[in-house]
């Protein structure tokens, strides 16, 4: 079982006028569920909370730990356990083709080039992406690209997967495919989303408002609370 813990973690960032702005109020959370949704308005602090979990952002005060590893002290070890999927897959893909991008992920697991290539093709095949392996990532559709990004992150075998609005750029069909794909994963998932159906797939939901957690409970109640806030 995976466990993400925030202990009075807060984030202050310098604002344009030279003063510090509190982006996340001191937050304490103990996340052990397999499927956790994070919902809230634009600019409420969802991405900020997510970025804390794999150390892309460090707390200004308090601590964030994943399976007992502190993101500030053991950043490298945390990042090996926590994969992060961005909203825009183009920010995620480093190499020009899906195959090369997968191979990049697999360098540590497979020191031998030929085995690595076979493993990369196997993964792409599992995602139905084998025919596109050598295409330019710029020629893929948004949905295909998001799948490649997901495959590349999963290829490093993280135990925890953090996804920041993974379906925002996708149409209905690709959103459904992504939801099915996510549902089958063994990883612990922490997903921020504006897609309330995706939120309903989870067992626990956090509503973020104004830089803090304003609700924490079952997704159905969280969505109701979110609607109430949006009025």
């Amino acid at each position: 079982m995976n466990r993400i813990q925030l202990d009075a973690a807060s984030v202050l960032l310098p604002a344009a006028d030279g003063t510090d702005r509190q982006i996340l109020r001191p937050t304490t959370l103990d996340l052990t569920e397999q499927r956790i949704a994070v919902i809230g308005a634009n600019g409420s602090g969802k991405s900020t909370l997510l970025r804390l979990v794999n150390g892309l952002l460090l707390p200004s005060a308090g601590t964030v730990t994943v399976n007992g590893l502190d993101t500030a002290r053991d950043g490298r070890a945390v990042r090996r356990q926590v994969g992060f999927v961005f909203t825009d897959p183009l920010s995620q893909l480093v190499m020009p083709t899906p195959l090369e991008d997968l191979e990049l992920s697999l360098r540590r697991l497979y020191p031998s080039g030929s085995k690595r290539r076979t493993a990369a093709m196997d993964i792409l095949d599992g995602f139905g992406l084998a025919p596109l392996a050598q295409n330019s990532i710029y020629e893929l559709s948004g949905g295909e690209r998001q799948l490649v990004a997901l495959a590349s992150v999963l290829a490093v075998r993280p135990g925890v997967l953090v996804l920041d609005e993974p379906s925002t750029l996708l149409d209905l069909r690709n959103t459904r495919l992504l939801r099915e794909r996510l549902a089958g994963l063994p990883q612990q998932l922490l997903i921020s989303t504006h897609d309330l159906e995706l939120a309903q797939d989870c067992t626990r939901a956090l509503v973020i408002g104004d830089g803090g957690v304003v609700f924490d409970g079952p997704p159905a109640d969280a969505v109701a609370r979110y609607h109430q806030l949006a009025r």
Binding site: S91, V94, P96, T97, E100, E103, L104, S105, R117, Y138
Partner: protein, 207 residues
């Protein structure tokens, strides 16, 4: 912003003799061309190197556009150097230097066009492997170098994109409007690449 960037320096899949040639042979060829062109060889040697590189380009079944693209991107730079050398030391020297630069850039172009990034990474990692006992991390070195190689076309591409954007607002003569965004894009790109690697736990020192 990454509109033009991907057109250059990417791997061009194929099965030509050059594609199948071992990486070390291609790297040695690049090295020989660079040495011939910049270690005081005469205009004939430089012309010979340029001819050899162009022949190899087509032997690798790479499209002619791929030959022209880097030249076009460097055109202003080449003209300036050519004009300066012509004025300072005459036509033969100007040609020797231009042919040398072109031959080297195009030889590097052949190397990246016919070698998948993954193989390039392996080759680089192997190259510095002997330095491991002095504390070097070959895997990290290879990643850094290849990301640097990949960022060069990105930056050149960003100039193209920004020029288009400036033109769309009638600002194409404004130097600030054309260079500042490129710097911002470059910094953003470097940050983004760093985050993309961190998202997969890659690119960090091994224990």
């Amino acid at each position: 912003m990454r509109g033009h960037a991907h057109l250059i320096a990417a791997y061009h899949p194929g099965n030509s003799v050059v594609h199948r040639a071992p990486l070390r042979l291609k790297a040695a060829f690049l090295l020989v061309v660079a040495v011939v062109c910049f270690a005081g060889a005469g205009p004939f040697a430089a012309s010979g190197a340029l001819t050899a590189v162009v022949v190899l380009h087509f032997a690798a079944q790479l499209p002619a556009a791929r030959l022209w693209k880097p030249i076009r991107l460097m055109l202003v730079f080449l003209l300036l150097i050519g004009a300066y050398q012509f004025w300072q030391s005459g036509p033969l020297t100007a040609w020797r230097i231009l042919a040398g630069i072109l031959a080297t850039v195009l030889a590097a172009n052949i190397l990246t066009a016919t070698t998948p990034v993954d193989r390039l990474l392996d080759g680089l990692a192997r190259l510095v492997a002997p330095l491991r006992r002095f504390g070097a991390d070959p895997e990290r070195f290879a990643l850094t170098v290849s990301l640097m190689l990949r960022s060069i076309p990105f930056i050149i591409g960003a100039f193209d994109d920004v020029r288009d954007a400036a033109r769309a607002r009638g600002l194409e003569r404004n130097l600030r409007a054309r260079t500042l965004p490129v710097m911002i894009c470059t910094v953003a790109y470097a940050r983004q690449t760093g985050e993309a690697l961190a998202a997969r736990g890659l690119g960090e020192a091994e224990e």
